[in-house]
């Protein structure tokens, strides 16, 4: 009798398992956003500006797909999403067929701190904040993490101005508290160069069906390449202790020298405001230099 009872329970359990499945009917997707090409950028000044740090490399065959998806997300979000492409680790090393070296000290230090390239590429970090207990996120998680950060209350507003004299950049960054800020905060000012045309390993032929782009995409457009930092990888103190709503703090810099190899027309400055202890980014901002 006892054994029969166990068998009956086992059969019941099996039936439950057999029913534990969700068959999804077509269509499998729901349109959530659509942005016309050539239209104005979407920007909501009441919402956070989110930072995506895309750890990549020109030897990384899956990275163009991830970068393409991130680019579309940025077009949909406009200025509310700042992307930095950090070339670091094994897949960023130059080779005979990929001679460019997009690595820089700042990118290497960030990569060493977060250990991203040891896990693999492409991977990204959104607002230097863990999402579902993971700070290193595969491309499949980027949109979800970006949306989550975007929906958090806006804590601060950043504005920048900069001028270019020859190869030297000078400017200032102003931070205004939208919510009370307590604790210490630092401000990073990074230098990013966009639209660098150089070869890239690639395994997705659908990214441009007008030409052959595998195994090497010869005229690949590298976006948002991190070139360096004005005030060091971890930035400068800007808020000590607290900043009340409406109050502002400023950071100024002068005579940062751009590498003459860079295309000044494509150089952007990216400001990142982060909480010192947690390293979480609470606001970012990007400004085109010219």
């Amino acid at each position: 009798m006892k054994r029969t009872a166990y068998i009956f329970i086992a059969i019941l359990a099996a039936l439950f398992i057999l029913e534990s499945c969700d068959k999804v009917d077509e269509p499998y997707t729901v349109l959530v956003d659509s942005v016309k090409k050539g239209g104005d950028e979407n920007y909501d000044s009441t919402k956070r500006v989110v930072l995506l740090e895309d750890y990549t490399g020109h030897r990384c065959v899956n990275c163009p797909t991830a970068a393409h998806d991130a680019h579309i997300k940025q077009l949909a979000m406009g200025k509310n999403l700042v992307i930095i492409a950090i070339h670091a680790g094994y897949f960023a090393e130059p080779t005979n067929s990929l001679p460019e070296d997009f690595r820089c000290t700042t990118g290497n230090e960030l990569d060493e701190y977060y250990g991203v390239s040891l896990v693999g590429n492409p991977n990204g970090i959104i607002n230097r904040t863990a999402f579902n207990d993971n700070i290193i996120l595969g491309p499949g998680s980027w949109n979800d993490a970006i949306n989550t950060e975007y929906e958090k209350p806006k804590m601060a507003k950043i504005r920048m101005n900069a001028s270019l004299s020859g190869d030297k950049v000078s400017g200032s960054v102003q931070v205004e508290a939208i919510e009370p800020l307590s604790g210490d905060y630092k401000l990073c000012v990074y230098v990013v160069e966009d639209s660098i045309v150089a070869p890239q390993d690639n395994n997705n032929p659908d990214l441009d069906t007008t030409k052959t782009i595998i195994p090497i995409w010869e005229d690949y457009v590298h976006r948002h390449v991190l070139r360096g930092s004005v005030n060091g990888t971890w930035g400068s103190y800007i808020i000590n202790g607290n900043l009340a709503v409406g109050n502002k703090e400023s950071y100024s810099f002068s005579d940062y020298v751009l590498d003459p190899e860079w295309n000044k027309e494509q150089v952007h400055l990216v400001a990142i405001l982060y909480h010192l202890e947690s390293k979480e980014v609470i606001e970012a901002w990007q400004m085109h230099l010219e």
Partner: protein, 568 residues
């Protein structure tokens, strides 16, 4: 802290003992039990060797270690495993960094029931829909933390049920898995078959995973707009399998078919196609002859308890390789890695021993092994003219079940002759012909296919009952990748306690003459009862490990390695 919450398990173990009126009774019960265990330490001191790409390791010294303890008392067993990665050895996932008790369990077993609470390893059939296991050398562990129940209600019937979450480094994965398996040995069920030479086993299993909803979007563009679509995700994804095993004298045949429901994931580019797999193994053996044949087809059978995981973690199932894993250093440079998104392949092997005193057998007999294995892509067709193969948010593709795709992934042909030449000298000579699709297997787009021939001479000379010299000489010849290699290794065994080894792998045929490096090794070891300690100094080649859409580099290294193992 990781160990703190696990300390509660130790407390639980103590509290599970029958209540005793005084401490002495408790001690008596404890003493009547048995304690067993084993441990292993792998540590390396890293030497910078920029010539081979072994860059400075800031810690200089890294270590992976574990210790298992098992306590058994009658029907009751409890155990735990402590692990420490301080910091993880180069080539191991840095997310292992830390130390703690990631594995602990209590178990109660009788002839009728075995119940385990805590971490466990289990498998249904060949593992096509469920297998949890640990492989220390790979840094792989997908143990389930939950409940495992095994029932034997009648002779010949085994029922299993599992429920839990999987290990993800020092955390648990987000998915919950639950499943069951039933296996029936018909010869025990039907009295008429009890004495039959035909032995027949049937089995069936089902498993389901649950993961919370997530916002997963796919970004597309048309001529006029950029569009973002959210995926409608199945929260519960089930898989089922049926299997059969037949034995008749020296002949055995086993087969298993598995089916998986829609499972859009990062690894399959979020397609909604169902997955399936078929595995067939057939063997025949008699004195002096063994024949083995295996065939496998898998299609979209990656099955993880986190739909976003692309690395080598959180696999619910196991897709067995249909190729042979080699242990010789140069031959294992081109190992085949199962392609989770789909492949079709087979392997066959014949082992024949020419008897002693025969013409070809000689005084001691001669054994010849011939093996061939091959794996190809599946034959894929688009589902319609507007949808690319593998496009996210669609059914992905269609595939003809028994058709081989045009792209060969791997093949391995080798012939081995094993012969004892005299009382002291044994020789094994093997010729290999290998095809290796580096672009697919390593994810190294643009890499040329590797066509390699190789030979290995493996010989052992016994000086006497205690002392022997083992020598291995290998050559690998290819015009692709890094070109030709030669390797030699000598190992002197002094009884069963001490060994010394000296080896070198030389990339003499590298097209880049500046990279024709020697990878030398010296090693020594000592064994005392169940404890073995060995030291190795030398270079290790660099490699790339790619799983799913993410690749990581396994760096070259140079330094002193310590390995310590023991059991009690």
């Amino acid at each position: 802290m990781k160990t703190l919450k696990n300390f509660k398990a130790l407390l639980f173990i103590v509290l599970m003992l029958p209540l005793a009126s005084n401490a002495q009774d408790v001690l008596d019960v404890l003493k009547s039990g048995q304690v067993r265990g084993d441990y292993q330490v792998n540590a390396q001191y890293y030497v910078t060797d920029s010539a081979i790409g072994a860059y400075e390791v800031p810690e200089k010294f890294k270590m992976n270690a574990y210790g298992n303890i098992l306590y058994t008392n009658g029907n009751f067993t409890a155990g735990l495993r402590y692990e420490a990665y301080l910091n993880p050895l180069e080539g191991f996932d840095p997310r292992y960094k830390g130390n703690g008790i990631p594995y602990r369990f209590v178990s109660y077993k009788t002839d009728f029931i075995e119940l385990t609470a805590g971490n466990f390893y289990e498998q249904f059939g060949s593992g096509l829909i469920f297998r949890s296991y640990q492989e220390w050398t790979l840094g792989y562990d997908n143990s389930v933390d939950g409940i495992n129940v095994k029932l034997k209600p009648f002779k010949g019937v085994t029922l299993k049920g599992i429920y839990g979450t999987q290990r993800f480094f020092w955390e648990q994965g987000p998915g919950i898995i639950r499943g069951g398996d039933a296996e029936i040995f018909l010869n025990d069920i039907f009295p008429s078959m009890a004495e039959s030479k035909l032995r027949l086993t049937l089995g069936g299993s089902g498993i389901s995973k649950y993961q919370e909803a997530q916002d997963i979007e796919i970004n597309t563009e048309t001529d006029t707009s950029y569009n973002i679509y959210a995926l409608k995700l199945p929260l519960n994804v089930a898989a089922y399998a049926g299997r059969m095993r037949l034995n008749y004298g020296g002949f055995s045949l086993e087969g298993e078919y598995a089916y998986k429901m829609n499972d859009p994931s990062a690894l399959n580019n979020f397609i909604y196609k169902s997955g399936d797999a078929l595995l067939i193994n057939a063997t025949y053996s008699q004195k002096g002859l063994g024949i083995f044949f295996s065939a496998k087809r898998t299609d979209n059978m990656s099955y993880k308890s986190n739909r976003l995981e692309q690395g080598n973690s959180l696999d619910i199932n196991f897709l067995p390789p249909v190729t042979k894993m080699h242990t010789y250093g140069l031959i294992s440079m081109y190992p085949y890695a199962t392609q989770p998104n789909g492949e079709i392949g087979f392997q066959g092997q014949v082992i024949y021993t020419f008897p002693r005193e025969s013409l070809l057998g000689g005084k001691y007999g001669t054994t010849i092994t011939a093996h061939y294995s091959q794996v190809n892509s599946l034959k894929l067709n688009p589902i319609n003219s507007e949808t690319a193969i593998g496009q996210s948010g669609t059914d992905g593709y269609e595939s003809e079940f028994f058709a081989f795709g045009d792209e060969k992934y791997f093949s391995d042909m080798h012939i081995e002759i094993r012969k004892k030449l005299n009382r002291n000298f044994k020789l094994k000579a093997t010729y290999f012909n290998i095809f290796y699709n580096m672009e697919v297997i390593e994810g190294h787009t643009g890499a040329a296919d590797v066509y390699a021939n190789a030979a290995v001479f493996d010989m052992t000379y016994k000086f006497n009952r205690k002392y022997s010299l083992h020598g291995m000489f290998q050559g690998l010849f290819t015009e692709q990748d890094e070109g030709d290699w030669a390797a030699a290794m000598l190992e002197l065994n002094l009884g069963s306690k001490i060994f010394f080894a000296l080896g070198d792998e030389y990339n003499y045929g590298n097209p880049d003459t500046d990279r024709r490096y020697h990878y030398y090794t010296v090693a020594a070891g000592y064994t005392h009862n169940t404890t073995q300690i060995s030291l190795r100094y030398g270079r290790q080649r660099e490699g790339i490990l790619c799983v799913g859409g993410v690749c990581r580099n396994v760096p070259a290294s140079n330094g002193l390695t310590l390995t310590l193992t023991s059991s009690f």
